[in-house]
């Protein structure tokens, strides 16, 4: 079983949303409501319990290289967002029932028959991916098409993507491919092309990496995502201190007082 990964190359994304729809069709997900946001062509907003692939439309500052060359024109780039399937995953560490597991393909998977909807994963994901479905009661996110991968198929989104912006394959091969691609783009004049794979944070790297142009912040990709387990040490120390105060304070309070 090789560890598989996604490499979403946003420079090839045409914003067609085939990935979004293919995912919904394969997983039989419902809609997230029919509200017009007016935020470019993105009426979904973010990934959530019923949207596991989400195409972002970034109307931003001009980018040189390709894509509309009028100097005073905002550029338009597209990027398909997905669960990052972190190497060290906040949701997985936090899940008390053990519903969230790492599959043999290296993806992070929520077992829907175990999840009891405590929603602790929701506040443990530094990328804001996993979400509880209040009608259903359980938490949902991208499964990395675990069912399809078990049959030797690619995930639905990768299959549907017409321009192969979503690449799927062995993680080491994709990491290499990403490097090659970023170098190629930079040699073509796109100095702002970069790979988003925060290996230096506590997340230790993603199984769903992104090549973007321009600052990843405009795609809502955080520069310093942290797995909340990094806070545990301080937290339990503080807890111990509180316990200590309770014991010592209590001893002091009772010992120093009259019998009653």
């Amino acid at each position: 079983m090789t560890t598989t990964a996604f490499l979403t190359d946003s420079t090839l994304c045409i914003g067609c949303k085939a990935c979004e729809v293919a995912c919904k069709e394969w997983n039989e997900l419902g809609d997230d409501g029919h509200t017009w946001t007016g935020l470019s062509y993105d009426n979904t907003g973010a990934v959530g319990h019923s949207t596991w692939r989400h195409v972002k439309f970034v109307e931003a500052a001009p980018l040189l290289g390709f894509g509309g060359n009028a100097p005073d024109l905002a550029s338009w780039t597209f990027s398909s967002d997905v669960c990052k399937h972190c190497e060290v995953a906040g949701c997985l560490e936090a899940c008390p029932t053990g519903a969230i597991v790492r599959t043999e393909f290296g993806g992070v998977f929520v077992q829907p028959d175990v999840c009891n909807g405590c929603a602790y994963c929701v506040v443990s994901c530094p990328f804001g991916v996993v979400q509880k479905n209040s009608d259903d009661g359980r938490a949902f996110k991208c499964t990395f098409c675990y069912d399809r991968q078990k049959e030797g198929l690619q995930p639905a989104c990768a299959k549907a993507c017409p321009t192969e912006s979503i690449k799927f394959g062995d993680i080491d091969e994709l990491k290499l491919a990403a490097q090659v691609r970023v170098e190629e783009l930079q040699s073509r004049g796109m100095q702002d092309a970069q790979l988003y794979d925060p290996t230096e944070t506590s997340v230790k790297g993603l199984h769903a990496m992104f090549i973007t142009r321009g600052d990843p912040k405009q795609y809502n990709l955080p520069p310093n995502p942290e797995v909340p387990t990094v806070y545990l040490e301080s937290a339990w120390k503080s807890s111990a201190l509180a316990a200590g105060v309770l014991v010592l304070g209590g001893l002091f309070a009772f010992l120093g007082s009259a019998r009653r």
């Binding site: 729809v21 409501g33 979904t44 597209f78």
Partner: protein, 865 residues
């Protein structure tokens, strides 16, 4: 389609989408390919990534395609010919022609007859213009020394789709001047015609800055020659204009001059606007053509008979020499044994055209109460057609209406739910139309073929039976036909004969008694009636009644009893041989004789496709040769040779009578042998080129009280309006606004406009605005975006407003019907409406509901400019 048909011989894309990956430059115009043909667009991306191709997108809006292009040029909607003419001028002025290709393979050197006058001579019209009848007489457009049959009434009634370059011109002994000096040779005429399409004129007329234009011109025209090719992709952004066919002609001329047709990475990819529209013109649901682009006969006393019909359309040379064969095979397929030589193959049983029976033609008749009934199958004209108000009101005049669809479309519900009902213009209790709504089967629930934009037939098998009473269209038609035939059994009278003699014995299969689609496809492909065996292609069809084929261009799709080529899925090369069947004859890039030099060698190693194998004495290569396989490159035809034998070995365009690509189109088009810039029917500006003619002269505006136009420069409607599609929705929205996970992608109708216009009119992003035209008013959400830009044109700022057209009053997400704003107009050749360039006014605020909306619209119309 006639744009390509007159230029090259066949009205279809000249290449396959996968071939775009070989291009060195791609011009996408009149299309947002990434949005509307996203799967095909992957090859544009490949061209960009692997070939380093320059991708150019010219469009009034900066779309998702522009985001992927290297260069985007903003264009004033409706000025495509100015731009393309500017490119042609650039080619001619800077001597960028691919001479070795153009001279042998096009009619650039052909001399035109003496009486010809250009628009430059006559201030906007060609010679032969009849201002009273509003049409052209083509006599003065013909080649020197070539006899022609004049045009006749029927042709004006019938328009002219698809196949052209035909029998009305018999270019025996046409005169050529290879030095291109003769004042009336096509080259000189072309130069004169486009002389004023300078970069300055392009900037003045369409708003494209001059330096940008020159940059694009250089990039595109230098991708030409033996080693390089460039492709053009277009779609509905070019066709839905009052001069759509001529726009395509300009592209054809450009590609011929640059030597890109019939070569890998070149050609013109007509991106059709629907998954199987190509199929619906090949086996047509159009009123004026028969399967395989044969002409529908027209009614004219004295010319009603079979011989006259054949005489008119059969040409002495080229493939159309076999016109009668193809027609006879069609008749044999339809009428079986009843079609014989002694009854003119049942020619009398085919209905004859008496006028304009196009969509708008009969719909206006319907509006006047002249029609009893209508079948609407998988179409939603209440939302999709122009002037929705007129369209829906017309429906109320029918006695009965049958709608077959997967959901209750706006067309089916017009009688109780529509803007007219809401505004009180129609009352449900007063509508006498009896409406029948039949559930239709979905794609996976029926067998059949799609013919996609690159002429590729793909057979789909039935995966699951349709639920409940839903049935496929073939089921419906077959059983309807069967019942109608039963009704007329034994009746006497000429009017029953067409039904009685119709051969309708298809086998049925399965529990639902579906007609066997395989059998239908076999019939289309053709068989030998004496042996019962399938034919292998159109070359085996005979004109003596021993073979039958429902559509000669599809012949060969089912060449043997169990070999359905449309069904096979084992592709062998990048062109896709082994996957489906590409008509004609599984040629993927048509006119591919052009990919070899006149002597048969490829132009270059990099751009080789088809070439002459001297050893085997035949044409060979990566693609199936679109040429007589055994014809030597140096073949010269004897004087009296006919058919394709009458064409020399270096004449690639085998449907044209002279075998060459038509830079100048002497016949086939209603509005001129060369494209000319005219303004759209509604425009804020006059034609910068000609004083006397602002718009395309033969255009039919169908002016009526309920189909008004704004005069040019009307102050009430100062902004240019263009309508378009989004990836997320499907045409009139029946299949996308009814599915929750598709509806959520674009839930509301919105208009796109520039920040400058928004500031000017105090339109706020996210709020509502009303868009007014002389036809109607609608409301939409405002999307302010820098992707729309004001243009500086002829000393004025021109603002453009964009509106997608997918919304209607049914479904999960609803919105106003954009096409209510459009007028009904008919382009002279194909009678298509102009949707891409009109004028409008836009005002912040919501539209009134009910009868107030009408008052609001009228008040706006009546205010002084």
């Amino acid at each position: 389609m006639p744009g390509l048909g007159t230029s090259f011989g066949r009205g279809g894309a000249t290449t396959a989408q996968s071939d775009l990956a070989n291009a060195d430059a791609i011009l996408i115009m009149g299309s947002s390919m990434a949005e509307n043909h996203p799967v095909g667009f992957q090859w544009v991306m490949e061209a960009r990534e692997k070939n380093g191709a320059t991708i150019i997108h010219v469009d009034p809006r900066f779309t998702r395609t522009s985001a992927m292009a290297d260069i985007w040029l903003p264009l004033r909607a409706g000025t495509d010919i100015l731009f393309l003419g500017g490119l042609i001028n650039y080619v001619l002025t800077n001597d960028k022609m691919f001479r070795e290709y153009v001279l042998p393979y096009t009619n650039l050197s052909t001399v035109i007859c003496e009486g010809f006058r250009d628009t430059e001579d006559l201030d906007g019209v060609f010679s032969g213009w009849d201002d009273i009848k509003k049409r052209y007489d083509h006599a003065t457009w013909q080649y020197q020394n070539v006899e022609t049959l004049g045009y006749d009434e029927g042709h004006y009634g019938g328009g002219g789709h698809g196949k052209e370059g035909t029998g009305t011109s018999h270019p025996n002994g046409c005169e050529r001047d290879e030095t291109l000096q003769h004042p009336r040779c096509v080259y000189q005429i072309l130069k004169k015609h486009f002389a004023r399409y300078t970069p300055e004129m392009v900037e003045q007329g369409s708003g494209i800055p001059k330096e940008q234009f020159l940059k694009v011109a250089e990039a595109f025209t230098s991708a030409s020659g033996p080693d390089k090719t460039a492709a053009i992709c277009y779609s509905v952004g070019w066709t839905q204009h009052s001069k759509g066919v001529q726009i395509i002609r300009s592209a054809a001329i450009l590609q011929l001059l640059l030597g890109n047709i019939g070569r890998p990475g070149g050609g013109i990819l007509a991106l059709r606007g629907h998954a199987s529209i190509q199929g619906s013109t090949d086996i047509p649901t159009l009123y004026d053509i028969l399967p395989g682009y044969l002409h529908m006969p027209f009614f004219k006393s004295g010319h009603n008979n079979f011989n006259d019909y054949i005489l008119r359309h059969k040409s002495r040379k080229g493939l159309w020499f076999n016109y009668d064969t193809y027609f006879i095979n069609l008749m044999k397929a339809w009428y079986g044994e009843n079609a014989r030589a002694d009854n003119d193959w049942c020619f009398d049983l085919i209905p004859k055209l008496t006028g304009d029976h196009s969509h708008f033609g009969y719909w206006l008749d319907m509006r006047e109460g002249k029609m009893d009934g209508l079948f609407v199958l998988g179409q939603n004209p209440a939302v999709g057609a122009s002037n929705g108000r007129l369209e829906r009101t017309a429906l109320s005049k029918l006695k009965w209406l049958v709608v077959r669809d997967m959901v209750e479309t706006e067309t089916a519900s017009f009688w109780y739910n529509s803007p007219e009902i809401e505004r009180g213009e129609l009352k449900t209790e007063d509508i006498a139309t009896e409406v029948f709504l039949f559930p239709a089967a979905g794609t996976a629930e029926k067998a059949g073929t799609f013919t996609n934009t690159q002429r590729l037939l793909q057979f789909r098998e039935l995966a699951i039976h349709p639920p409940g009473h839903a049935r496929s269209d073939s089921w419906f038609m077959y059983h309807l036909g069967r019942r109608l035939k039963k009704k007329v059994e034994g009746k006497v009278g000429k009017r029953y004969e067409p039904l009685q003699k119709l051969q309708w014995n298809y086998k049925t299969e399965g529990p639902l008694k579906e007609p066997s689609i395989s059998q239908v496809l076999k019939e289309i492909s053709g068989w030998d009636l004496t042996s019962g065996k399938q034919v292998s292609g159109y070359k085996e069809l005979k004109g003596d009644g021993t073979t039958a084929s429902g559509c000669w261009i599809y012949s060969g799709v089912f060449p043997a009893e169990n070999l359905n080529k449309a069904l096979i899925r084992s592709p062998k090369n990048y062109l896709g041989h082994g996957w489906g069947f590409s008509w004609p004859n599984d040629v993927r890039i048509i006119y591919n004789r052009c990919s070899a030099r006149p002597d048969g060698r490829p132009w270059s190693e990099r751009k080789k496709l088809v070439w002459w194998d001297e050893e085997k004495q035949e044409w060979t290569g990566i693609d199936t040769p679109d040429f007589d396989k055994k014809k030597r490159p140096d073949y010269q035809p004897p004087e009296d040779a006919t058919g394709t034998n009458g064409l020399a070995g270096d004449k690639p365009f085998i449907l044209n009578a002279d075998g060459v690509g038509w830079v100048f189109a002497p016949t086939g088009l209603m509005d001129g042998p060369l494209p000319t810039h005219y303004e759209p029917l509604e425009s804020p500006l006059h034609n910068p080129l000609y004083r006397s003619h602002d718009t395309n002269p033969p255009e039919d505006k169908k002016i009526r009280p309920d189909n008004e136009y704004a005069p040019i420069g009307d102050g009430r409607f100062p902004y240019v309006l263009s309508t378009y599609r989004l990836t997320e929705h499907h045409t009139a929205g029946g299949m996308s606004r009814t599915l929750p996970h598709l509806a959520e992608l674009q839930p509301e109708l919105f208009c796109e406009l520039s920040p400058e216009l928004a500031a000017d009119l105090e339109l706020v992003h996210g709020e509502w605005a009303c868009i007014y035209t002389p036809r109607s008013v609608i409301e939409a959400r405002v999307m302010v975006t820098p992707r729309m830009r004001p243009l500086w044109v002829q000393g004025r700022t021109v603002h453009q407003v964009g509106l997608p057209y997918h919304w209607g009053y049914n479904g999960l997400v609803k919105g106003d019907v954009t096409n209510d704003l459009l007028p009904i107009s008919e382009e002279p050749n194909v009678r298509i409406m102009e949707t891409k360039a009109l004028v409008c006014d836009i005002v912040p605020g919501r539209r009134a509901t009910g009868p107030e909306a009408l008052k609001q619209w009228k008040a706006h119309k009546e205010e002084a400019a």
